[in-house]
Protein backbone atom coordinates (compact mmCIF):
# COMPACT_ATOMS: atom_id res chain seq x y z
CA UNK A 1 0.00 0.00 0.00
CA UNK A 2 1.42 3.40 -0.98
CA UNK A 3 1.91 6.02 1.78
CA UNK A 4 -0.95 8.17 0.43
CA UNK A 5 -3.38 5.24 0.62
CA UNK A 6 -2.09 4.32 4.10
CA UNK A 7 -2.72 7.86 5.32
CA UNK A 8 -6.25 7.78 3.89
CA UNK A 9 -6.97 4.50 5.71
CA UNK A 10 -5.56 5.84 8.98
CA UNK A 11 -7.66 9.00 8.80
CA UNK A 12 -10.73 6.79 8.82
CA UNK A 13 -11.45 5.42 12.31
CA UNK A 14 -15.25 5.61 12.57
CA UNK A 15 -16.80 6.21 16.01
CA UNK A 16 -13.34 6.76 17.54
CA UNK A 17 -11.52 9.85 18.79
CA UNK A 18 -8.97 11.23 16.35
CA UNK A 19 -5.46 11.23 17.92
CA UNK A 20 -5.08 14.96 17.29
CA UNK A 21 -8.09 15.66 19.52
CA UNK A 22 -6.02 14.45 22.50
CA UNK A 23 -3.48 17.23 21.95
CA UNK A 24 -5.03 20.68 21.61
CA UNK A 25 -1.62 22.34 21.77
CA UNK A 26 0.16 19.73 19.65
CA UNK A 27 3.19 17.63 20.58
CA UNK A 28 6.70 19.08 20.68
CA UNK A 29 10.20 17.60 20.73
CA UNK A 30 12.38 18.05 23.84
CA UNK A 31 15.82 17.40 22.41
CA UNK A 32 17.75 15.14 20.05
CA UNK A 33 19.28 12.21 21.92
CA UNK A 34 18.86 9.55 19.24
CA UNK A 35 19.78 9.80 15.56
CA UNK A 36 18.03 6.93 13.84
CA UNK A 37 19.29 6.22 10.34
CA UNK A 38 17.43 4.02 7.89
CA UNK A 39 20.25 2.87 5.63
CA UNK A 40 18.25 0.96 3.06
CA UNK A 41 14.99 -0.73 2.24
CA UNK A 42 16.74 -3.79 0.89
CA UNK A 43 16.43 -6.91 3.02
CA UNK A 44 17.09 -10.62 2.59
CA UNK A 45 13.73 -11.37 4.27
CA UNK A 46 10.13 -10.40 3.48
CA UNK A 47 8.46 -10.48 6.89
CA UNK A 48 4.68 -10.29 6.88
CA UNK A 49 4.56 -7.57 9.55
CA UNK A 50 7.34 -5.30 8.21
CA UNK A 51 6.24 -1.66 8.51
CA UNK A 52 9.18 -0.62 6.31
CA UNK A 53 7.96 -2.82 3.44
CA UNK A 54 11.56 -3.94 2.98
CA UNK A 55 12.34 -6.89 0.72
CA UNK A 56 15.07 -8.37 -1.50
CA UNK A 57 13.52 -6.50 -4.45
CA UNK A 58 13.60 -3.07 -2.77
CA UNK A 59 16.83 -1.41 -3.96
CA UNK A 60 16.64 1.96 -2.23
CA UNK A 61 19.87 2.60 -0.29
CA UNK A 62 21.34 5.74 1.29
CA UNK A 63 24.07 7.37 -0.87
CA UNK A 64 27.51 7.59 0.78
CA UNK A 65 27.43 11.41 0.69
CA UNK A 66 24.49 11.30 3.14
CA UNK A 67 26.34 8.87 5.41
CA UNK A 68 29.20 11.37 5.44
CA UNK A 69 26.72 14.15 6.28
CA UNK A 70 25.42 12.05 9.20
CA UNK A 71 29.01 11.69 10.46
CA UNK A 72 29.55 15.45 10.19
CA UNK A 73 26.40 16.09 12.23
CA UNK A 74 27.24 13.49 14.87
CA UNK A 75 30.75 14.98 15.25
CA UNK A 76 29.41 18.45 16.01
CA UNK A 77 26.24 18.00 18.07
CA UNK A 78 25.73 16.38 21.50
CA UNK A 79 23.70 13.39 20.30
CA UNK A 80 24.16 10.28 22.50
CA UNK A 81 22.98 7.40 20.34
CA UNK A 82 23.02 6.45 16.69
CA UNK A 83 20.43 3.80 15.88
CA UNK A 84 21.08 2.11 12.52
CA UNK A 85 18.19 0.32 10.87
CA UNK A 86 16.85 -0.74 7.47
CA UNK A 87 15.93 -3.02 5.65
CA UNK A 88 18.90 -5.08 6.56
CA UNK A 89 21.70 -2.60 7.35
CA UNK A 90 24.30 -5.24 6.46
CA UNK A 91 23.15 -5.02 2.82
CA UNK A 92 24.36 -1.40 2.61
CA UNK A 93 27.78 -1.51 0.85
CA UNK A 94 29.25 1.14 3.17
CA UNK A 95 28.09 -0.15 6.56
CA UNK A 96 31.52 -1.40 7.65
CA UNK A 97 33.19 1.93 6.77
CA UNK A 98 30.37 3.84 8.47
CA UNK A 99 30.70 1.83 11.71
CA UNK A 100 34.47 2.27 11.74
CA UNK A 101 34.00 6.02 11.47
CA UNK A 102 31.26 6.12 14.12
CA UNK A 103 33.34 4.15 16.60
CA UNK A 104 35.92 6.97 16.60
CA UNK A 105 33.30 9.15 18.32
CA UNK A 106 31.91 8.99 21.84
CA UNK A 107 28.57 7.43 20.83
CA UNK A 108 26.35 4.50 21.70
CA UNK A 109 26.07 2.66 18.38
CA UNK A 110 23.01 0.46 17.89
CA UNK A 111 22.51 -1.76 14.84
CA UNK A 112 19.20 -3.51 14.19
CA UNK A 113 19.84 -6.88 12.57
CA UNK A 114 17.50 -9.61 11.42
CA UNK A 115 20.20 -12.09 12.57
CA UNK A 116 19.81 -14.60 9.73
CA UNK A 117 21.76 -12.48 7.25
CA UNK A 118 24.84 -13.09 9.42
CA UNK A 119 24.85 -16.71 8.21
CA UNK A 120 25.25 -15.66 4.57
CA UNK A 121 28.80 -15.85 3.25
CA UNK A 122 28.92 -12.21 2.09
CA UNK A 123 27.73 -10.86 5.45
CA UNK A 124 29.10 -13.28 8.08
CA UNK A 125 32.11 -11.02 8.73
CA UNK A 126 29.79 -8.41 10.27
CA UNK A 127 29.83 -10.37 13.53
CA UNK A 128 33.50 -9.38 13.84
CA UNK A 129 32.77 -5.85 12.61
CA UNK A 130 30.18 -5.49 15.38
CA UNK A 131 32.63 -6.82 17.96
CA UNK A 132 35.47 -4.55 16.78
CA UNK A 133 33.25 -1.47 16.93
CA UNK A 134 31.51 -2.46 20.18
CA UNK A 135 28.08 -2.18 18.60
CA UNK A 136 24.92 -2.73 20.66
CA UNK A 137 23.10 -5.36 18.61
CA UNK A 138 19.32 -5.19 18.51
CA UNK A 139 17.98 -8.36 16.95
CA UNK A 140 14.46 -9.19 15.78
CA UNK A 141 12.95 -12.33 17.26
CA UNK A 142 9.14 -12.22 17.37
CA UNK A 143 8.82 -15.47 19.32
CA UNK A 144 10.69 -18.25 21.09
CA UNK A 145 9.06 -21.03 19.11
CA UNK A 146 9.61 -22.07 15.53
CA UNK A 147 6.00 -22.08 14.36
CA UNK A 148 5.39 -18.41 15.16
CA UNK A 149 8.70 -17.05 13.87
CA UNK A 150 8.63 -19.02 10.62
CA UNK A 151 5.01 -18.07 9.97
CA UNK A 152 5.91 -14.39 10.25
CA UNK A 153 9.40 -14.30 8.75
CA UNK A 154 9.71 -17.31 6.45
CA UNK A 155 10.54 -20.99 6.66
CA UNK A 156 13.77 -21.83 8.46
CA UNK A 157 14.24 -18.35 9.93
CA UNK A 158 13.79 -19.53 13.53
CA UNK A 159 16.50 -22.21 13.34
CA UNK A 160 18.88 -19.80 11.59
CA UNK A 161 18.19 -17.10 14.21
CA UNK A 162 19.02 -19.56 16.99
CA UNK A 163 22.26 -20.50 15.26
CA UNK A 164 23.31 -16.85 14.97
CA UNK A 165 22.36 -16.07 18.58
CA UNK A 166 24.59 -18.95 19.69
CA UNK A 167 27.44 -17.57 17.54
CA UNK A 168 26.95 -14.11 19.05
CA UNK A 169 27.01 -15.58 22.57
CA UNK A 170 30.31 -17.28 21.72
CA UNK A 171 31.69 -13.85 20.80
CA UNK A 172 30.54 -12.49 24.14
CA UNK A 173 27.36 -10.67 23.03
CA UNK A 174 24.63 -10.87 25.66
CA UNK A 175 26.95 -12.15 28.38
CA UNK A 176 27.03 -10.37 31.71
CA UNK A 177 30.79 -10.13 32.06
CA UNK A 178 31.39 -8.49 28.65
CA UNK A 179 30.76 -5.05 27.14
CA UNK A 180 28.89 -6.49 24.16
CA UNK A 181 25.16 -5.85 24.43
CA UNK A 182 22.61 -8.08 22.72
CA UNK A 183 18.97 -7.03 22.87
CA UNK A 184 16.02 -8.81 21.32
CA UNK A 185 12.95 -7.21 19.79
CA UNK A 186 9.58 -8.88 20.22
CA UNK A 187 6.43 -7.82 18.46
CA UNK A 188 3.11 -9.68 18.21
CA UNK A 189 2.51 -12.03 15.29
CA UNK A 190 -0.97 -10.74 14.56
CA UNK A 191 -3.75 -8.36 15.48
CA UNK A 192 -3.20 -8.09 19.24
CA UNK A 193 -1.11 -6.09 21.69
CA UNK A 194 1.96 -7.44 23.48
CA UNK A 195 1.87 -8.44 27.14
CA UNK A 196 4.07 -6.85 29.77
CA UNK A 197 7.67 -6.42 28.64
CA UNK A 198 8.92 -7.71 31.98
CA UNK A 199 6.90 -10.95 31.74
CA UNK A 200 7.89 -11.48 28.11
CA UNK A 201 11.58 -10.88 28.84
CA UNK A 202 11.45 -13.40 31.69
CA UNK A 203 9.78 -15.97 29.44
CA UNK A 204 12.16 -15.41 26.50
CA UNK A 205 15.18 -15.73 28.79
CA UNK A 206 13.91 -18.93 30.35
CA UNK A 207 12.85 -20.58 27.08
CA UNK A 208 15.91 -19.61 25.02
CA UNK A 209 18.31 -20.54 27.79
CA UNK A 210 16.75 -23.87 28.74
CA UNK A 211 16.27 -25.06 25.14
CA UNK A 212 19.24 -23.53 23.31
CA UNK A 213 21.64 -22.20 25.97
CA UNK A 214 21.15 -18.64 24.68
CA UNK A 215 21.55 -15.52 26.84
CA UNK A 216 20.76 -11.90 26.02
CA UNK A 217 20.54 -8.56 27.80
CA UNK A 218 17.16 -6.91 27.25
CA UNK A 219 13.92 -7.67 25.46
CA UNK A 220 12.25 -4.71 23.74
CA UNK A 221 8.54 -5.38 23.41
CA UNK A 222 7.01 -3.34 20.58
CA UNK A 223 3.41 -2.67 19.67
CA UNK A 224 2.86 -3.15 15.94
CA UNK A 225 2.11 0.20 14.36
CA UNK A 226 -0.70 0.17 11.78
CA UNK A 227 1.72 1.10 9.01
CA UNK A 228 3.18 -0.66 5.95
CA UNK A 229 2.62 -4.39 5.50
CA UNK A 230 1.03 -4.66 8.94
CA UNK A 231 -1.64 -2.11 7.96
CA UNK A 232 -2.19 -4.04 4.76
CA UNK A 233 -2.69 -7.23 6.78
CA UNK A 234 -5.13 -5.49 9.16
CA UNK A 235 -7.25 -4.22 6.28
CA UNK A 236 -7.20 -7.44 4.27
CA UNK A 237 -7.98 -9.63 7.28
CA UNK A 238 -10.80 -7.28 8.37
CA UNK A 239 -9.01 -6.62 11.67
CA UNK A 240 -8.34 -2.91 11.13
CA UNK A 241 -11.37 -1.55 13.00
CA UNK A 242 -10.94 -3.85 16.02
CA UNK A 243 -7.18 -3.28 16.23
CA UNK A 244 -7.58 0.50 16.14
CA UNK A 245 -10.36 0.21 18.74
CA UNK A 246 -8.02 -1.77 21.01
CA UNK A 247 -5.21 0.77 20.56
CA UNK A 248 -7.51 3.74 21.15
CA UNK A 249 -9.15 2.07 24.17
CA UNK A 250 -5.67 1.58 25.65
CA UNK A 251 -4.59 5.21 25.11
CA UNK A 252 -2.47 6.36 28.06
CA UNK A 253 -1.84 10.09 28.25
CA UNK A 254 1.17 9.61 30.56
CA UNK A 255 3.16 7.97 27.73
CA UNK A 256 3.28 11.35 25.94
CA UNK A 257 6.09 12.37 28.31
CA UNK A 258 8.43 9.72 26.88
CA UNK A 259 7.34 8.96 23.30
CA UNK A 260 10.41 8.46 21.12
CA UNK A 261 9.62 11.25 18.65
CA UNK A 262 10.37 13.77 21.40
CA UNK A 263 14.06 12.87 21.52
CA UNK A 264 14.67 11.25 18.13
CA UNK A 265 15.31 12.34 14.58
CA UNK A 266 14.72 9.64 11.99
CA UNK A 267 16.72 9.87 8.75
CA UNK A 268 15.36 8.29 5.57
CA UNK A 269 17.52 6.59 2.91
CA UNK A 270 17.23 9.73 0.73
CA UNK A 271 18.32 12.11 3.51
CA UNK A 272 14.83 13.29 4.44
CA UNK A 273 14.28 13.86 8.17
CA UNK A 274 11.26 12.56 10.06
CA UNK A 275 9.96 12.61 13.63
CA UNK A 276 9.98 8.82 13.74
CA UNK A 277 10.36 5.68 11.66
CA UNK A 278 6.59 5.32 11.26
CA UNK A 279 6.20 8.85 9.90
CA UNK A 280 9.02 7.95 7.51
CA UNK A 281 6.99 5.05 6.12
CA UNK A 282 3.92 7.27 5.81
CA UNK A 283 5.95 9.93 3.98
CA UNK A 284 5.28 12.54 6.68
CA UNK A 285 8.56 14.53 6.91
CA UNK A 286 9.36 16.92 9.75
CA UNK A 287 7.09 19.89 9.35
CA UNK A 288 9.62 22.69 8.89
CA UNK A 289 12.15 23.80 6.30
CA UNK A 290 14.97 21.84 7.97
CA UNK A 291 13.66 18.43 7.01
CA UNK A 292 16.63 17.18 5.01
CA UNK A 293 20.22 16.33 5.99
CA UNK A 294 21.37 19.09 3.66
CA UNK A 295 19.42 21.68 5.71
CA UNK A 296 20.11 20.16 9.14
CA UNK A 297 19.65 22.77 11.89
CA UNK A 298 20.07 21.37 15.41
CA UNK A 299 18.34 24.25 17.20
CA UNK A 300 15.41 24.34 14.80
CA UNK A 301 14.85 20.60 15.26
CA UNK A 302 15.23 20.51 19.04
CA UNK A 303 11.83 22.01 19.84
CA UNK A 304 9.99 21.27 16.62
CA UNK A 305 6.28 20.51 16.46
CA UNK A 306 5.80 16.81 15.77
CA UNK A 307 3.65 15.49 12.95
CA UNK A 308 0.95 13.30 14.50
CA UNK A 309 -1.83 11.04 13.26
CA UNK A 310 -3.91 8.04 14.30
CA UNK A 311 -0.92 5.69 13.90
CA UNK A 312 0.52 7.46 16.98
CA UNK A 313 -1.96 5.47 19.10
CA UNK A 314 0.44 2.51 18.78
CA UNK A 315 3.13 4.38 20.75
CA UNK A 316 0.70 5.59 23.42
CA UNK A 317 -1.26 2.40 24.17
CA UNK A 318 -0.93 0.86 27.63
CA UNK A 319 2.60 1.28 28.89
CA UNK A 320 3.59 2.88 25.58
CA UNK A 321 5.92 1.64 22.87
CA UNK A 322 9.11 2.81 21.19
CA UNK A 323 12.00 1.41 19.18
CA UNK A 324 13.64 0.81 22.60
CA UNK A 325 10.62 -1.13 23.83
CA UNK A 326 7.98 -0.30 26.39
CA UNK A 327 8.04 3.26 27.76
CA UNK A 328 6.89 2.14 31.18
CA UNK A 329 9.43 -0.49 32.26
Amino acid sequence: MEPKKQKAVLENVPEEKDFKENLDQGLYADDIDIFQINLCKKCNLSCKHCHVQASPQNDRIMPKKYLQKCLDILKIYPIDTVDITGGSPEMHPNLEWFLNELSQMDLNIMVRSNLVILLEEDYAHFIDVYTDNQVELVASLPGYNQEKVDRLRGEGVFDSSIEVLQLLNQKGFGKEDTDFTLDLVYNPAGSYLPGSQQALEREFKEQLNSKYGIVFDNLFSLINSPVGKFLNYLVKSDNYKNYMHELINSYNEETLQNVMCRNTVSVGWDGTLYDCDFNQMLNLPINNSHNHLSQFDYEALQNRRIEIGNHCYSCTAGGGSSCQGSLEE
Partner: protein, 110 residues
Amino acid sequence: MSDYYESKDLDNFPNIAEFAEEEGNKFFDYYEEATAGNELSDRVTALIGLSVAHVNKCPYCIDAFTNKCLSLGISKDEMMEAVHVGSAITAGAINAHSTQMLKILEDKEM
Protein backbone atom coordinates in the same frame (compact mmCIF):
# COMPACT_ATOMS: atom_id res chain seq x y z
CA MET B 1 -31.89 -5.69 23.20
CA SER B 2 -30.87 -6.56 19.65
CA ASP B 3 -28.18 -9.20 20.17
CA TYR B 4 -26.72 -11.42 22.88
CA TYR B 5 -22.97 -11.90 23.34
CA GLU B 6 -21.44 -9.13 21.24
CA SER B 7 -17.67 -8.55 21.61
CA LYS B 8 -18.27 -4.83 22.17
CA ASP B 9 -20.12 -5.76 25.40
CA LEU B 10 -16.67 -6.23 26.94
CA ASP B 11 -16.08 -2.46 26.69
CA ASN B 12 -18.94 -2.06 29.19
CA PHE B 13 -17.47 -4.54 31.69
CA PRO B 14 -15.68 -1.83 33.73
CA ASN B 15 -19.10 -0.19 34.32
CA ILE B 16 -20.76 -3.11 36.07
CA ALA B 17 -20.13 -1.46 39.45
CA GLU B 18 -22.52 1.34 38.51
CA PHE B 19 -25.54 0.14 40.52
CA ALA B 20 -23.81 -1.72 43.35
CA GLU B 21 -20.66 0.28 43.65
CA GLU B 22 -19.19 -1.21 46.80
CA GLU B 23 -19.67 -4.84 45.74
CA GLY B 24 -18.54 -4.05 42.20
CA ASN B 25 -15.38 -2.27 43.31
CA LYS B 26 -14.55 -5.07 45.73
CA PHE B 27 -14.98 -7.56 42.91
CA PHE B 28 -12.59 -5.63 40.66
CA ASP B 29 -10.01 -5.31 43.46
CA TYR B 30 -10.26 -9.05 44.07
CA TYR B 31 -10.14 -9.86 40.33
CA GLU B 32 -7.04 -7.71 39.83
CA GLU B 33 -5.25 -9.22 42.84
CA ALA B 34 -6.18 -12.80 41.99
CA THR B 35 -5.03 -12.53 38.38
CA ALA B 36 -1.93 -10.38 38.98
CA GLY B 37 0.48 -13.33 38.92
CA ASN B 38 2.05 -12.97 42.36
CA GLU B 39 3.64 -16.35 43.05
CA LEU B 40 2.51 -17.76 39.70
CA SER B 41 4.07 -16.49 36.47
CA ASP B 42 1.98 -14.40 34.05
CA ARG B 43 2.07 -17.36 31.66
CA VAL B 44 0.62 -19.85 34.17
CA THR B 45 -2.03 -17.36 35.29
CA ALA B 46 -3.09 -16.73 31.68
CA LEU B 47 -3.32 -20.47 30.89
CA ILE B 48 -5.42 -21.15 34.02
CA GLY B 49 -7.67 -18.24 33.01
CA LEU B 50 -8.04 -19.65 29.50
CA SER B 51 -8.87 -23.11 30.79
CA VAL B 52 -11.47 -21.86 33.26
CA ALA B 53 -12.96 -19.57 30.60
CA HIS B 54 -13.66 -22.67 28.49
CA VAL B 55 -14.98 -24.70 31.41
CA ASN B 56 -17.41 -21.86 32.13
CA LYS B 57 -18.18 -21.56 28.40
CA CYS B 58 -17.85 -17.76 28.72
CA PRO B 59 -17.25 -16.12 25.31
CA TYR B 60 -16.05 -12.88 26.90
CA CYS B 61 -13.47 -14.67 29.06
CA ILE B 62 -12.36 -16.83 26.12
CA ASP B 63 -11.81 -13.66 24.07
CA ALA B 64 -9.94 -11.93 26.89
CA PHE B 65 -7.70 -14.87 27.83
CA THR B 66 -6.95 -15.97 24.26
CA ASN B 67 -5.67 -12.44 23.67
CA LYS B 68 -3.81 -12.50 26.98
CA CYS B 69 -2.09 -15.76 26.01
CA LEU B 70 -1.23 -14.41 22.55
CA SER B 71 0.19 -11.25 24.07
CA LEU B 72 2.56 -13.33 26.21
CA GLY B 73 3.83 -15.38 23.28
CA ILE B 74 2.09 -18.58 24.41
CA SER B 75 1.80 -21.05 21.54
CA LYS B 76 -1.43 -22.49 20.07
CA ASP B 77 -0.36 -25.98 21.21
CA GLU B 78 -0.01 -24.81 24.80
CA MET B 79 -3.37 -23.03 24.70
CA MET B 80 -5.16 -26.09 23.35
CA GLU B 81 -3.45 -28.24 25.95
CA ALA B 82 -4.81 -25.95 28.67
CA VAL B 83 -8.33 -26.31 27.20
CA HIS B 84 -7.95 -30.11 27.33
CA VAL B 85 -6.86 -29.96 30.97
CA GLY B 86 -10.07 -28.08 31.80
CA SER B 87 -12.10 -30.40 29.64
CA ALA B 88 -10.58 -33.55 31.18
CA ILE B 89 -11.05 -32.32 34.77
CA THR B 90 -14.65 -31.41 33.95
CA ALA B 91 -15.23 -34.86 32.42
CA GLY B 92 -13.44 -36.37 35.42
CA ALA B 93 -15.78 -34.58 37.80
CA ILE B 94 -18.79 -35.94 35.91
CA ASN B 95 -17.42 -39.46 35.86
CA ALA B 96 -16.37 -39.28 39.52
CA HIS B 97 -20.01 -38.51 40.34
CA SER B 98 -21.01 -41.81 38.79
CA THR B 99 -19.66 -43.33 42.00
CA GLN B 100 -22.77 -41.86 43.64
CA MET B 101 -24.91 -43.57 41.05
CA LEU B 102 -23.06 -46.85 41.60
CA LYS B 103 -23.58 -46.57 45.39
CA ILE B 104 -27.34 -46.16 44.86
CA LEU B 105 -27.43 -49.03 42.43
CA GLU B 106 -25.54 -51.15 44.95
CA ASP B 107 -28.06 -50.24 47.65
CA LYS B 108 -31.17 -50.67 45.57
CA GLU B 109 -30.61 -53.65 43.33
CA MET B 110 -31.20 -57.19 44.43
